[in-house]
Symmetry: C2
Subunit: 134 residues, 2 copies
């Protein structure tokens, strides 16, 4: 099971997200292609141009079985990746922290995005179990 | 000339954008399908469900000749719309205020997005003239 994990990186971070914990939890369910997003490994971003990062990330979405996106913070990149995932028929789970602002209708109004709200670590594990067991 | 104007609505607004002025300037070049985004007209959002807003906005992108997106603030919705525009072969101009944070590599690294930085009203008019004259 190859998992593309999408999360806000350089954007505003209204809600502090524990990406490291999220990725460690995701690794119980498969291989996380975007592990460097949590700062666990920086290898992915070393000396790459924006075009190289863009093309590599889309290739990883092509390769992945599912996308899991943390959507509590607004992000152009995550929005772009969600639509690219839909375009390519990927199964997509969006995780929203209860303290996050109201989501865009582009996310909540799409038939192809499953949105789940969480408040703590146990919620995330349960949500992921349900998602990956389906 | 039908113009789809995309901008951050509910997201974080690190940079205060004058959407009304942007839309008024865009109207010199064509019909702006998303005029209500500036609060000029609220008719677009009245009593619509998230799914209705999502589907209407994608229909407008289908219909438009060009997309002009204000990208100075992070936004899931704008990122989603940018990718949907690319998916549908639209010509897309991204406007970034000089005070905006560094853009996602998904935007700057895409071959299909033209990104222009501006600092004031005169810049915007000149950038739009150049874009629409091409």
């Amino acid at each position: 099971m190859k998992i593309y994990f999408a999360t806000s990186i350089s954007g505003a971070n209204d809600v502090k997200i524990n990406n490291i914990l999220l990725i460690e939890t995701l690794k119980k369910f498969g291989t996380v292609l975007t592990e460097h997003f949590a700062g666990v490994s920086k290898s992915g971003e070393t000396e790459l141009s924006d075009k190289e990062i863009h093309d590599r990330d889309l290739r990883w979405i092509d390769e992945c079985d599912v996308i899991v996106a943390e959507v509590s913070n607004p992000s152009l990149g995550v929005g772009y990746e969600l639509r690219y995932g839909i375009e390519n028929g990927k199964r997509i789970l969006c995780l929203k922290h209860k303290n996050g602002k109201r989501l865009s209708a582009m996310v909540t109004g799409s038939d192809y995005l499953e949105v789940e709200e969480y408040s703590g670590d146990e919620d995330i594990f349960k949500i992921l179990c349900d998602f990956f067991e389906e």
